[in-house]
Symmetry: C2
Subunit: 421 residues, 2 copies
């Protein structure tokens, strides 16, 4: 096993995944805080914090942060999701110390200066504009809001433009101090790294950080429904989904297999039926998003206004029939795809650090690849049948953006085929 | 050196890049044919051929192709560019033989059946629709057409919708037989591969392929100018560029450094000045595209209608001043970034196969990383100054998509700052 995990006295986790034959390392901090921890008034603060973490600390100006990283050929990046925020670097192996020092600095000593904050508001407003102009991004926000209406987990990660304009230094500082506790943070490093060295660096840099006292977010309450936005586009962009599974659900890996059989590759049912046999789309794929206490299964398709009437019944029929018709050949193929995908990801420092950080936040331990493979291998047609019947019996969520046409068509699109017969 | 290159009697090139510590391989065929080899009547045929190569051969149906690949956990993909078309797989090491067999089959025995062709037309029309709906994709087509008007190299890779509707089996078959000659093809494999074994597989599978007799495409004649499309979007999407450098240009690596100093990372001049100091954009970056006989240097920015009046003079000032003001600190930082990027790419089977295939098509030999590093290290401020003066003295190309406003503003946007003073 190449993975080692340690915990500091304050609850901060340090994990490494050593790869002997590379010359670089990926080092990041995964924080168990994201958009679903926000009140409506603070919606967008997690993401704004992620931006402002790069805008200067007590020891480094914004420009010094990027100059120090890039002058050794490193790359620094970050993302915010509904449950997590991550900050990570890719560096040459000799620069791992710098990487840990910068992560510790931006996560504990950020100053959120007024002038920097004003400029970053403008940048984030441009980011919102870019998302709004990209139909196959925006549709996912509309889908999420429809699946989880009036809930933090349903709101946009970027936040509202009003919030982006008004959130102030005190809000950012308070949110970081209140939520970025040692017990909610995992430093994960993979590549040419030495656990003992990383542990010492982390003790020095994060050892004094206090724990947090973050209340559990409100439970995810899936509701579903329909949302349509008429827009003058070439394609009608659709996301259709159902209530899915939490990380801890015993059927979590069954859902992975089910999702891949339906829309995980070029041999999947939806790709074959909708694109290859009927030519109705260029893009169609499923997704399977898990949270601590819920999840979403769904699919994206981009089609023409004239094609949607053929597409939707075909898609629904694939979903509703899969439980009774999935074959052992399809299941075996998907298992081979998932196994090979795990092996291929093992060759990537960034993917290994990401998996390690995520697993420690979610499960409190690294999940060995062998264990994942074993659980995938245990999935059979009966389990898929039970899960499909459970998931697709639920209320669908449908978001549509583009030449939607008369809105009363939407309800018919998600009806069970032949339901009247 | 881990790279080995062989040539078959018919001119077909076989190249491998062995990585001892991985369990997978990337295997592909890079073909020196792309959209710039097309007549106006055939515009889009290279890309349609790339799609149709997956739609069945004398030995395999379309579904058998993807099933055989995905049932061993492999991934198959392809892309078309202006000068090349590439087909590649990622597979476990034991499946390299299957990968070569499938590549050989789809590149020599495709049948282009009428029914499959009709369906694939519809898929490509959806792909065109998706591109049209994605402003930061579409703007690059508009930029290319404006830089190279009325030339094959300026036309869209996807082709016109009319061509996609009308190109027939004979056109596809003729284009493949006429252009996919052994002398224009490179099989490149990286990862856990054995050169002798790959060579034997390639001899069996590609040894009987004839050479082609492809006339050189019309020379790339950069012209430049302006193109604006008014569209109701949140952001004004801009691509600004200049006549750039061919692969063989002695200043090719000087251009890489110049491009990175201007817009290659978060410490770059444009990112710092336009985003970090002024908050005018979320995305701004430069690109540096080379062809056999020309190239394009350019930048993308997405901004607001109210911000463009501030953005454009700042951008132009950065371009026009870089030649006289670039510092040794900036140059050293960019060299470190480029060196580290080369090292990081060495860890990726796909990136190594891609580089190998491209180098053999373009230069007829693999360029060792050490040679690239040496040439990057040789770049100095004087070389950048000379190149910047040469490039930015040329006619600019500006494409704008979004809330453009009165079109007579555009000409002013690319004027030399303070030109009247």
């Amino acid at each position: 096993m190449t993975i080692e995990v340690s915990r500091l006295n304050n609850g901060f986790t340090v994990a490494t995944d050593r790869m002997d034959h590379v010359e670089t390392a990926a080092v990041g901090v995964w924080v168990g805080i994201g958009a679903r921890h926000e009140t409506p008034q603070l919606n967008g603060v997690s993401h704004m914090l992620e931006h402002m973490a790069f805008k200067g600390t007590a020891r480094r100006s914004a420009q010094e942060i990027v100059n120090q990283v890039e002058s050794v050929g490193g790359q620094i990046n970050a993302y915010t999701s509904r449950e997590n925020t991550a900050y990570y670097l890719r560096v040459l192996a000799v620069d791992v110390g710098l990487a840990v020092d910068i992560l510790a600095d931006i996560l504990q000593n950020s100053t959120f200066e007024a002038e920097e904050l004003e400029r970053e508001r403008a940048v984030i407003l441009q980011e919102i504009g870019q998302c709004t102009d990209t139909p196959d991004d925006l549709i996912f926000d509309q889908f999420q809001e429809t699946a989880y209406p009036d809930q933090a987990i349903g709101r946009s990660i970027l936040g509202t433009a009003d919030n982006v304009r008004s959130l102030d230094r005190a809000a950012l500082d308070g949110y970081m101090r209140g939520n970025y506790g040692a017990d909610r943070m995992v430093l994960a490093a993979s590549g040419k790294v030495d656990h003992g060295k990383i542990l010492r660096l982390a003790e020095d840099a994060f050892g004094a950080l206090a724990a947090s006292d973050v209340p559990a977010p409100e439970p995810a309450a899936y509701r579903g429904g329909q949302h349509a936005e008429q827009r003058d586009l070439e394609q009608l962009h659709l996301v259709l989904g159902f209530d899915g599974l939490a990380y801890q659900d015993p059927d979590f890996y069954t859902m992975s297999v089910l999702s891949s059989v339906l829309g995980g590759g070029m041999s999947s049912r939806l790709f074959q039926e909708v694109r290859e046999r009927r030519g109705l789309v260029y893009s169609i794929y499923t997704f399977n998003t898990a949270y601590q206490d819920g999840g979403l299964f769904g699919l994206y398709a981009g089609t023409g206004a004239d094609q949607v009437g053929e597409l939707m019944p075909v898609v629904m029929e694939q979903l509703f029939s899969i439980g009774d018709t999935v074959s052992s050949e399809e299941i075996d193929r998907v298992k081979a795809q998932l196994r090979a995908g795990l092996l291929m990801a093992l060759e990537n420092t960034r993917a290994r650090a990401e998996r390690l950080g995520q697993h420690l936040l979610i499960f409190g331990r690294p999940i060995p690849v062998e264990e994942i493979v074993e659980r995938i291998d245990a999935v059979d047609a009966a389990a898929i049948g039970r899960l499909a019947n459970r998931v697709f019996a639920g209320v669908p969520t449908l978001a549509a953006l583009g030449p939607v046409g008369p809105l009363d068509r939407l309800a018919g699109w998600t009806a069970r085929p032949n339901a009247a017969e």
